[in-house]
Amino acid sequence: MLDINCLLDNLETGLNRVIHERKLAQPLMIGLRTGGVWVAEALHQRLNIQEPLGLLDISFYRDDFSQIGVHPNVKPSQLPPNIEGRDIILVDDVFYTGRTVRAALNEIFDYGRPKQVVLGVLIERNGKQIPISPDCSGEQVILAANQRIKLTGPEPLAIHIETTASHD
Protein backbone atom coordinates (compact mmCIF):
# COMPACT_ATOMS: atom_id res chain seq x y z
CA MET A 1 0.00 0.00 0.00
CA LEU A 2 1.37 3.40 -1.02
CA ASP A 3 0.96 6.26 1.40
CA ILE A 4 0.58 9.58 -0.34
CA ASN A 5 1.99 11.68 2.46
CA CYS A 6 4.98 9.44 2.86
CA LEU A 7 5.66 9.70 -0.89
CA LEU A 8 5.32 13.49 -0.81
CA ASP A 9 7.70 13.66 2.19
CA ASN A 10 10.28 11.62 0.32
CA LEU A 11 9.93 13.70 -2.81
CA GLU A 12 10.16 16.95 -0.86
CA THR A 13 13.37 15.78 0.81
CA GLY A 14 14.78 14.69 -2.53
CA LEU A 15 13.94 17.96 -4.20
CA ASN A 16 15.44 20.01 -1.38
CA ARG A 17 18.64 18.04 -1.81
CA VAL A 18 18.72 18.60 -5.57
CA ILE A 19 17.94 22.31 -5.18
CA HIS A 20 20.92 22.57 -2.87
CA GLU A 21 23.28 20.44 -4.97
CA ARG A 22 22.44 22.02 -8.30
CA LYS A 23 22.16 25.50 -6.82
CA LEU A 24 18.71 26.24 -8.19
CA ALA A 25 17.93 29.93 -7.85
CA GLN A 26 14.28 30.93 -7.37
CA PRO A 27 13.12 27.84 -9.19
CA LEU A 28 9.87 27.84 -11.18
CA MET A 29 7.71 24.82 -10.56
CA ILE A 30 5.74 23.30 -13.44
CA GLY A 31 3.20 20.49 -13.04
CA LEU A 32 2.18 18.17 -15.84
CA ARG A 33 -1.57 17.82 -16.42
CA THR A 34 -3.44 16.25 -14.80
CA GLY A 35 -1.90 14.20 -11.97
CA GLY A 36 1.41 16.04 -12.02
CA VAL A 37 -0.37 19.30 -11.29
CA TRP A 38 -1.94 17.86 -8.15
CA VAL A 39 1.40 16.62 -6.88
CA ALA A 40 3.04 19.92 -7.82
CA GLU A 41 0.40 21.89 -5.93
CA ALA A 42 1.27 20.03 -2.75
CA LEU A 43 5.01 20.45 -3.28
CA HIS A 44 4.64 24.07 -4.27
CA GLN A 45 3.22 24.70 -0.82
CA ARG A 46 5.74 22.54 1.02
CA LEU A 47 8.74 24.12 -0.72
CA ASN A 48 7.22 27.57 -0.25
CA ILE A 49 7.79 28.69 -3.82
CA GLN A 50 6.60 32.26 -4.30
CA GLU A 51 5.97 32.34 -8.02
CA PRO A 52 2.66 30.78 -9.17
CA LEU A 53 2.74 27.17 -10.29
CA GLY A 54 3.09 26.64 -14.05
CA LEU A 55 0.76 24.19 -15.75
CA LEU A 56 1.74 22.15 -18.76
CA ASP A 57 -0.55 20.15 -21.07
CA ILE A 58 1.63 18.15 -23.40
CA SER A 59 -1.20 17.01 -25.74
CA PHE A 60 0.18 18.94 -28.69
CA TYR A 61 3.65 17.48 -28.19
CA ARG A 62 2.77 13.83 -27.77
CA ASP A 63 4.47 11.37 -30.08
CA ASP A 64 1.35 9.27 -30.67
CA PHE A 65 -0.77 11.81 -32.61
CA SER A 66 -0.68 9.64 -35.71
CA GLN A 67 -2.11 6.75 -33.66
CA ILE A 68 -4.71 8.47 -31.51
CA GLY A 69 -5.17 12.05 -32.73
CA VAL A 70 -5.83 15.07 -30.57
CA HIS A 71 -6.71 14.36 -26.97
CA PRO A 72 -10.34 15.45 -26.66
CA ASN A 73 -9.98 17.15 -23.28
CA VAL A 74 -6.87 19.16 -23.97
CA LYS A 75 -6.45 22.18 -21.65
CA PRO A 76 -4.33 25.26 -22.22
CA SER A 77 -0.80 25.31 -20.84
CA GLN A 78 -0.16 28.17 -18.42
CA LEU A 79 3.49 29.08 -18.24
CA PRO A 80 4.98 32.43 -17.27
CA PRO A 81 6.46 34.33 -20.19
CA ASN A 82 9.97 34.41 -18.70
CA ILE A 83 11.21 30.84 -19.11
CA GLU A 84 14.46 32.02 -20.66
CA GLY A 85 17.42 31.39 -18.35
CA ARG A 86 15.26 30.06 -15.48
CA ASP A 87 15.74 27.08 -13.19
CA ILE A 88 12.75 24.79 -13.46
CA ILE A 89 11.39 21.99 -11.32
CA LEU A 90 9.22 19.76 -13.46
CA VAL A 91 6.77 17.59 -11.52
CA ASP A 92 4.76 14.57 -12.62
CA ASP A 93 2.91 11.87 -10.75
CA VAL A 94 4.38 8.75 -12.35
CA PHE A 95 7.50 8.21 -14.39
CA TYR A 96 6.95 5.27 -16.72
CA THR A 97 8.14 5.22 -20.35
CA GLY A 98 9.72 8.68 -20.28
CA ARG A 99 7.77 9.84 -23.35
CA THR A 100 5.66 12.34 -21.44
CA VAL A 101 8.77 14.02 -20.07
CA ARG A 102 10.28 14.12 -23.56
CA ALA A 103 7.14 15.94 -24.81
CA ALA A 104 7.15 18.27 -21.80
CA LEU A 105 10.79 19.24 -22.32
CA ASN A 106 10.12 20.01 -25.97
CA GLU A 107 7.17 22.18 -25.07
CA ILE A 108 9.09 24.04 -22.35
CA PHE A 109 11.92 24.72 -24.76
CA ASP A 110 9.43 26.24 -27.23
CA TYR A 111 8.60 28.79 -24.56
CA GLY A 112 12.26 29.68 -24.01
CA ARG A 113 15.66 28.23 -23.08
CA PRO A 114 15.78 27.40 -19.38
CA LYS A 115 19.07 27.28 -17.46
CA GLN A 116 18.40 23.99 -15.66
CA VAL A 117 15.49 21.56 -15.50
CA VAL A 118 15.05 19.15 -12.62
CA LEU A 119 12.51 16.33 -12.76
CA GLY A 120 10.72 15.15 -9.66
CA VAL A 121 8.08 12.40 -9.67
CA LEU A 122 5.96 10.84 -7.01
CA ILE A 123 6.66 7.31 -8.23
CA GLU A 124 9.20 5.91 -10.63
CA ARG A 125 8.16 2.56 -12.03
CA ASN A 126 9.88 0.15 -14.39
CA GLY A 127 9.22 0.34 -18.15
CA LYS A 128 11.49 3.13 -19.32
CA GLN A 129 11.66 3.41 -23.12
CA ILE A 130 13.91 6.40 -23.73
CA PRO A 131 17.12 7.59 -22.00
CA ILE A 132 15.51 9.99 -19.55
CA SER A 133 15.35 9.51 -15.78
CA PRO A 134 13.91 11.53 -12.90
CA ASP A 135 16.30 13.40 -10.64
CA CYS A 136 14.35 12.34 -7.60
CA SER A 137 11.26 10.32 -6.79
CA GLY A 138 9.06 9.56 -3.79
CA GLU A 139 9.43 5.82 -4.36
CA GLN A 140 10.70 3.34 -6.92
CA VAL A 141 8.44 0.36 -7.64
CA ILE A 142 8.52 -2.67 -9.88
CA LEU A 143 5.16 -3.52 -11.43
CA ALA A 144 3.86 -6.13 -13.85
CA ALA A 145 2.83 -5.07 -17.35
CA ASN A 146 -0.87 -5.29 -16.49
CA GLN A 147 -0.49 -3.10 -13.43
CA ARG A 148 -0.71 0.64 -13.39
CA ILE A 149 -0.60 3.40 -10.86
CA LYS A 150 -3.72 5.45 -10.44
CA LEU A 151 -3.69 8.86 -8.81
CA THR A 152 -7.01 10.36 -7.72
CA GLY A 153 -7.47 13.93 -6.67
CA PRO A 154 -7.14 16.74 -6.22
CA GLU A 155 -8.93 16.50 -2.85
CA PRO A 156 -8.21 14.15 -1.24
CA LEU A 157 -5.10 13.14 -3.09
CA ALA A 158 -4.73 9.35 -3.04
CA ILE A 159 -2.75 6.74 -4.89
CA HIS A 160 -3.21 3.06 -5.50
CA ILE A 161 -2.18 0.30 -7.87
CA GLU A 162 -4.70 -1.09 -10.32
CA THR A 163 -4.40 -4.51 -11.90
CA THR A 164 -6.17 -4.93 -15.19
CA ALA A 165 -7.10 -8.24 -16.76
CA SER A 166 -4.11 -9.05 -18.93
CA HIS A 167 -5.11 -9.24 -22.56
CA ASP A 168 -4.14 -12.16 -24.73
Binding site: Q67, G69, V70, E107, Y111
Partner: protein, 320 residues
Protein backbone atom coordinates in the same frame (compact mmCIF):
# COMPACT_ATOMS: atom_id res chain seq x y z
CA UNK B 1 -31.15 15.25 -45.43
CA UNK B 2 -28.10 14.89 -43.20
CA UNK B 3 -24.50 15.36 -44.02
CA UNK B 4 -22.48 12.45 -42.75
CA UNK B 5 -19.78 12.96 -45.31
CA UNK B 6 -17.74 14.99 -42.83
CA UNK B 7 -17.77 12.47 -40.02
CA UNK B 8 -15.98 9.12 -39.95
CA UNK B 9 -17.46 5.86 -38.70
CA UNK B 10 -16.70 6.80 -35.09
CA UNK B 11 -18.45 10.14 -35.46
CA UNK B 12 -15.20 12.08 -35.48
CA UNK B 13 -14.41 14.93 -37.76
CA UNK B 14 -13.00 13.83 -41.12
CA UNK B 15 -13.79 16.84 -43.29
CA UNK B 16 -15.03 20.23 -42.19
CA UNK B 17 -17.41 21.38 -44.87
CA UNK B 18 -20.43 22.84 -43.12
CA UNK B 19 -21.83 23.31 -39.63
CA UNK B 20 -24.99 21.48 -40.66
CA UNK B 21 -25.28 18.08 -39.04
CA UNK B 22 -22.56 18.66 -36.43
CA UNK B 23 -23.63 18.15 -32.82
CA UNK B 24 -23.40 20.69 -30.04
CA UNK B 25 -20.88 18.38 -28.36
CA UNK B 26 -18.60 18.36 -31.39
CA UNK B 27 -18.81 22.13 -31.86
CA UNK B 28 -18.01 22.57 -28.17
CA UNK B 29 -15.07 20.21 -28.50
CA UNK B 30 -13.74 22.37 -31.33
CA UNK B 31 -14.08 25.50 -29.20
CA UNK B 32 -12.43 23.79 -26.21
CA UNK B 33 -9.54 22.54 -28.30
CA UNK B 34 -9.11 26.00 -29.82
CA UNK B 35 -8.86 27.36 -26.27
CA UNK B 36 -5.62 25.41 -25.82
CA UNK B 37 -4.19 26.58 -29.11
CA UNK B 38 -4.55 30.24 -28.11
CA UNK B 39 -1.53 29.81 -25.81
CA UNK B 40 0.71 28.70 -28.66
CA UNK B 41 0.95 32.31 -29.79
CA UNK B 42 2.44 33.16 -26.37
CA UNK B 43 5.31 30.74 -26.84
CA UNK B 44 8.65 32.04 -27.89
CA UNK B 45 8.59 29.46 -30.64
CA UNK B 46 5.05 29.91 -31.86
CA UNK B 47 4.39 26.38 -33.01
CA UNK B 48 3.60 22.90 -31.80
CA UNK B 49 4.86 19.74 -33.50
CA UNK B 50 1.40 18.17 -33.89
CA UNK B 51 1.21 17.99 -37.68
CA UNK B 52 4.93 17.60 -38.33
CA UNK B 53 5.44 15.82 -41.64
CA UNK B 54 1.89 16.45 -42.84
CA UNK B 55 1.28 18.37 -46.04
CA UNK B 56 -1.55 20.84 -46.33
CA UNK B 57 -2.50 22.49 -49.60
CA UNK B 58 -4.49 25.69 -49.61
CA UNK B 59 -6.49 25.61 -52.82
CA UNK B 60 -7.88 29.06 -53.40
CA UNK B 61 -10.04 29.32 -56.48
CA UNK B 62 -11.23 32.67 -55.23
CA UNK B 63 -8.95 35.37 -53.97
CA UNK B 64 -8.84 36.03 -50.26
CA UNK B 65 -5.50 37.03 -48.87
CA UNK B 66 -6.84 37.32 -45.34
CA UNK B 67 -8.42 33.90 -45.04
CA UNK B 68 -5.55 32.25 -46.86
CA UNK B 69 -3.04 33.89 -44.52
CA UNK B 70 -4.76 32.71 -41.35
CA UNK B 71 -5.03 29.17 -42.71
CA UNK B 72 -1.36 29.28 -43.67
CA UNK B 73 -0.34 30.54 -40.24
CA UNK B 74 -2.54 27.98 -38.52
CA UNK B 75 -0.97 25.16 -40.54
CA UNK B 76 2.53 26.45 -39.90
CA UNK B 77 1.93 26.73 -36.17
CA UNK B 78 0.96 23.09 -36.26
CA UNK B 79 4.31 22.39 -37.98
CA UNK B 80 2.67 21.15 -41.16
CA UNK B 81 4.18 21.84 -44.56
CA UNK B 82 1.94 24.27 -46.38
CA UNK B 83 1.55 25.02 -50.02
CA UNK B 84 -0.79 27.79 -51.08
CA UNK B 85 -2.14 27.84 -54.59
CA UNK B 86 -4.26 30.54 -56.12
CA UNK B 87 -5.99 29.10 -59.14
CA UNK B 88 -7.79 31.28 -61.64
CA UNK B 89 -11.28 29.86 -61.97
CA UNK B 90 -11.22 30.42 -65.70
CA UNK B 91 -8.82 27.52 -66.06
CA UNK B 92 -10.97 25.19 -63.99
CA UNK B 93 -14.48 26.18 -64.89
CA UNK B 94 -15.39 22.54 -65.37
CA UNK B 95 -15.42 19.89 -62.70
CA UNK B 96 -13.21 17.75 -64.85
CA UNK B 97 -10.20 20.01 -64.65
CA UNK B 98 -10.90 20.76 -60.98
CA UNK B 99 -10.57 17.03 -60.40
CA UNK B 100 -7.40 16.95 -62.47
CA UNK B 101 -5.89 19.55 -60.15
CA UNK B 102 -6.92 17.49 -57.13
CA UNK B 103 -5.55 14.25 -58.58
CA UNK B 104 -2.23 15.86 -59.40
CA UNK B 105 -1.83 17.13 -55.87
CA UNK B 106 -2.95 13.81 -54.40
CA UNK B 107 -0.14 12.18 -56.30
CA UNK B 108 2.24 14.37 -54.32
CA UNK B 109 1.09 12.81 -51.03
CA UNK B 110 -1.00 15.63 -49.70
CA UNK B 111 -2.85 15.07 -46.41
CA UNK B 112 -5.32 17.94 -46.41
CA UNK B 113 -6.94 20.39 -48.78
CA UNK B 114 -8.18 23.76 -47.61
CA UNK B 115 -10.58 24.85 -50.32
CA UNK B 116 -12.00 28.22 -51.19
CA UNK B 117 -14.28 28.36 -54.23
CA UNK B 118 -16.83 30.76 -55.70
CA UNK B 119 -19.43 28.04 -56.28
CA UNK B 120 -21.67 26.51 -53.63
CA UNK B 121 -20.90 22.86 -53.08
CA UNK B 122 -17.32 22.91 -54.43
CA UNK B 123 -15.81 21.70 -51.13
CA UNK B 124 -18.37 18.88 -50.91
CA UNK B 125 -17.52 17.90 -54.45
CA UNK B 126 -13.82 17.70 -53.68
CA UNK B 127 -14.43 15.81 -50.43
CA UNK B 128 -16.54 13.29 -52.32
CA UNK B 129 -13.96 12.68 -55.00
CA UNK B 130 -10.63 12.94 -53.23
CA UNK B 131 -8.62 9.97 -51.98
CA UNK B 132 -9.97 8.52 -48.71
CA UNK B 133 -7.01 9.50 -46.54
CA UNK B 134 -7.30 13.19 -47.42
CA UNK B 135 -9.27 15.65 -45.31
CA UNK B 136 -10.98 18.66 -46.81
CA UNK B 137 -11.61 21.92 -44.99
CA UNK B 138 -14.08 24.34 -46.51
CA UNK B 139 -12.66 27.86 -46.44
CA UNK B 140 -15.78 29.27 -48.08
CA UNK B 141 -17.82 27.94 -51.01
CA UNK B 142 -20.10 30.23 -53.00
CA UNK B 143 -23.07 31.28 -50.94
CA UNK B 144 -23.17 28.00 -49.06
CA UNK B 145 -20.89 27.85 -46.05
CA UNK B 146 -17.84 29.29 -44.34
CA UNK B 147 -17.73 27.08 -41.27
CA UNK B 148 -14.30 28.02 -39.90
CA UNK B 149 -15.25 31.71 -39.91
CA UNK B 150 -18.46 30.84 -38.05
CA UNK B 151 -16.51 28.82 -35.48
CA UNK B 152 -14.06 31.62 -34.79
CA UNK B 153 -17.04 33.93 -34.31
CA UNK B 154 -18.56 31.43 -31.87
CA UNK B 155 -15.22 31.26 -30.09
CA UNK B 156 -15.12 35.03 -29.74
CA UNK B 157 -18.71 35.18 -28.50
CA UNK B 158 -18.06 32.46 -25.94
CA UNK B 159 -14.87 34.18 -24.78
CA UNK B 160 -16.85 37.26 -23.85
CA UNK B 161 -20.38 36.04 -23.13
CA UNK B 162 -19.47 32.57 -21.71
CA UNK B 163 -22.86 30.95 -22.39
CA UNK B 164 -24.94 30.87 -25.56
CA UNK B 165 -28.26 29.95 -23.96
CA UNK B 166 -29.42 33.43 -22.90
CA UNK B 167 -28.05 35.28 -25.93
CA UNK B 168 -29.93 37.21 -28.59
CA UNK B 169 -27.76 37.63 -31.65
CA UNK B 170 -28.49 39.94 -34.56
CA UNK B 171 -26.95 39.35 -37.99
CA UNK B 172 -27.27 42.45 -40.12
CA UNK B 173 -26.85 42.92 -43.84
CA UNK B 174 -26.56 40.80 -46.97
CA UNK B 175 -27.77 37.43 -45.68
CA UNK B 176 -28.78 36.35 -49.19
CA UNK B 177 -25.27 36.18 -50.57
CA UNK B 178 -23.49 35.40 -47.31
CA UNK B 179 -21.98 31.99 -46.68
CA UNK B 180 -20.71 33.37 -43.38
CA UNK B 181 -24.26 34.17 -42.23
CA UNK B 182 -25.55 30.70 -43.15
CA UNK B 183 -22.81 29.01 -41.14
CA UNK B 184 -23.19 31.43 -38.21
CA UNK B 185 -26.93 30.80 -38.03
CA UNK B 186 -26.40 27.03 -38.01
CA UNK B 187 -23.67 27.26 -35.38
CA UNK B 188 -25.62 29.63 -33.11
CA UNK B 189 -28.67 27.39 -33.29
CA UNK B 190 -26.66 24.22 -32.68
CA UNK B 191 -25.06 25.84 -29.62
CA UNK B 192 -28.49 26.66 -28.19
CA UNK B 193 -28.64 30.44 -28.65
CA UNK B 194 -31.95 31.89 -27.43
CA UNK B 195 -32.60 33.93 -30.57
CA UNK B 196 -30.90 34.55 -33.88
CA UNK B 197 -32.35 37.56 -35.61
CA UNK B 198 -31.58 38.65 -39.15
CA UNK B 199 -31.99 42.30 -40.04
CA UNK B 200 -31.98 43.30 -43.70
CA UNK B 201 -34.17 44.60 -46.48
CA UNK B 202 -36.11 41.86 -48.27
CA UNK B 203 -33.80 42.09 -51.28
CA UNK B 204 -30.91 40.85 -49.17
CA UNK B 205 -32.75 37.97 -47.50
CA UNK B 206 -33.13 34.54 -49.12
CA UNK B 207 -36.64 33.18 -49.65
CA UNK B 208 -38.00 31.32 -46.62
CA UNK B 209 -35.14 32.63 -44.48
CA UNK B 210 -37.12 31.78 -41.35
CA UNK B 211 -36.66 28.07 -42.18
CA UNK B 212 -33.01 28.55 -41.19
CA UNK B 213 -34.20 29.09 -37.62
CA UNK B 214 -34.14 32.87 -37.36
CA UNK B 215 -36.52 35.70 -36.63
CA UNK B 216 -36.68 38.46 -39.21
CA UNK B 217 -36.68 42.23 -39.01
CA UNK B 218 -36.49 44.79 -41.78
CA UNK B 219 -35.84 47.67 -39.42
CA UNK B 220 -32.55 48.18 -37.59
CA UNK B 221 -33.99 50.37 -34.84
CA UNK B 222 -36.59 47.76 -33.94
CA UNK B 223 -34.31 44.83 -34.61
CA UNK B 224 -31.54 45.91 -32.25
CA UNK B 225 -33.77 45.81 -29.15
CA UNK B 226 -32.44 43.42 -26.46
CA UNK B 227 -29.53 42.29 -28.59
CA UNK B 228 -26.36 40.92 -26.92
CA UNK B 229 -24.27 40.29 -30.02
CA UNK B 230 -24.31 42.29 -33.24
CA UNK B 231 -22.79 40.70 -36.31
CA UNK B 232 -22.40 43.07 -39.25
CA UNK B 233 -21.91 41.59 -42.73
CA UNK B 234 -19.88 43.09 -45.51
CA UNK B 235 -21.87 44.71 -48.30
CA UNK B 236 -20.47 44.00 -51.75
CA UNK B 237 -20.45 46.94 -54.13
CA UNK B 238 -22.09 44.95 -56.90
CA UNK B 239 -25.34 44.80 -54.90
CA UNK B 240 -26.05 48.38 -56.01
CA UNK B 241 -25.73 47.57 -59.70
CA UNK B 242 -28.01 44.52 -59.59
CA UNK B 243 -31.01 46.47 -58.30
CA UNK B 244 -30.85 44.97 -54.82
CA UNK B 245 -30.21 48.34 -53.18
CA UNK B 246 -30.63 51.92 -54.36
CA UNK B 247 -27.40 53.38 -52.99
CA UNK B 248 -24.71 53.00 -50.35
CA UNK B 249 -25.92 56.10 -48.57
CA UNK B 250 -29.50 54.84 -48.33
CA UNK B 251 -28.23 51.50 -47.06
CA UNK B 252 -26.10 53.19 -44.44
CA UNK B 253 -29.06 55.32 -43.39
CA UNK B 254 -31.28 52.27 -42.88
CA UNK B 255 -28.90 49.50 -41.87
CA UNK B 256 -25.55 51.12 -41.06
CA UNK B 257 -24.41 50.65 -37.48
CA UNK B 258 -23.77 54.02 -35.84
CA UNK B 259 -23.04 54.96 -32.23
CA UNK B 260 -26.62 56.07 -31.68
CA UNK B 261 -28.08 52.86 -33.19
CA UNK B 262 -25.70 50.80 -31.08
CA UNK B 263 -27.25 52.35 -27.95
CA UNK B 264 -30.52 50.56 -28.76
CA UNK B 265 -28.89 47.18 -28.15
CA UNK B 266 -27.99 46.01 -24.66
CA UNK B 267 -25.32 48.23 -23.04
CA UNK B 268 -22.82 45.35 -22.97
CA UNK B 269 -23.52 44.26 -26.54
CA UNK B 270 -20.49 43.36 -28.62
CA UNK B 271 -20.00 44.26 -32.28
CA UNK B 272 -18.53 41.75 -34.71
CA UNK B 273 -17.66 41.80 -38.41
CA UNK B 274 -16.07 39.02 -40.49
CA UNK B 275 -14.10 41.69 -42.44
CA UNK B 276 -13.00 43.34 -44.54
CA UNK B 277 -15.00 46.33 -43.34
CA UNK B 278 -16.60 48.92 -45.60
CA UNK B 279 -16.38 51.87 -43.27
CA UNK B 280 -19.27 54.24 -43.69
CA UNK B 281 -21.31 51.66 -45.64
CA UNK B 282 -22.33 49.01 -43.12
CA UNK B 283 -20.57 50.36 -40.05
CA UNK B 284 -19.32 53.70 -38.76
CA UNK B 285 -15.60 53.91 -37.96
CA UNK B 286 -16.37 55.03 -34.38
CA UNK B 287 -18.21 51.78 -33.83
CA UNK B 288 -15.78 49.53 -35.69
CA UNK B 289 -12.89 50.90 -33.58
CA UNK B 290 -14.98 51.54 -30.46
CA UNK B 291 -14.94 49.83 -27.07
CA UNK B 292 -17.74 47.40 -27.93
CA UNK B 293 -16.02 46.18 -31.09
CA UNK B 294 -14.32 42.77 -30.94
CA UNK B 295 -13.38 42.73 -34.60
CA UNK B 296 -9.62 42.43 -34.04
CA UNK B 297 -10.17 39.75 -31.43
CA UNK B 298 -11.98 37.76 -34.11
CA UNK B 299 -8.93 37.99 -36.33
CA UNK B 300 -6.51 36.71 -33.70
CA UNK B 301 -8.89 33.95 -32.64
CA UNK B 302 -9.05 32.84 -36.27
CA UNK B 303 -5.68 31.15 -36.06
CA UNK B 304 -6.35 29.12 -32.91
CA UNK B 305 -9.77 27.98 -34.14
CA UNK B 306 -8.36 26.89 -37.48
CA UNK B 307 -5.53 25.06 -35.72
CA UNK B 308 -8.12 23.18 -33.69
CA UNK B 309 -10.20 22.26 -36.74
CA UNK B 310 -7.20 21.24 -38.82
CA UNK B 311 -5.70 19.06 -36.12
CA UNK B 312 -9.06 17.45 -35.32
CA UNK B 313 -9.80 16.69 -38.96
CA UNK B 314 -6.30 15.27 -39.37
CA UNK B 315 -7.09 12.58 -36.78
CA UNK B 316 -5.96 9.13 -37.81
CA UNK B 317 -8.81 7.53 -39.74
CA UNK B 318 -9.80 3.95 -39.98
CA UNK B 319 -7.62 3.01 -37.00
CA UNK B 320 -9.44 1.82 -33.92
Amino acid sequence: MTDNLQLNAEGKLKHFLTIEGLSQALLTEILDTAESFVGVSDQQIKKVPLLRGKTIVNLFFENSTRTRTTFELAAKRLSADVLSMSIATSSTSKGESLLDTIRNLEAMFVDMFVVRHAISGAAHFIAQHTAPHISVINAGDGQHAHPTQAMLDMFTIRQIKKDFAPLRVAIIGDILHSRVARSQIQALNALGTAEVRVIAPKTLLPAHVETLGVTVSHNLTEGLQDIDVIIMLRLQKERMTSALLPSESEYFKCFGLTESKLKIAKPDAIVMHPGPINRGVEIESNVADGPQSVILKQVSNGIAVRMAIMSMAMQPHGVS
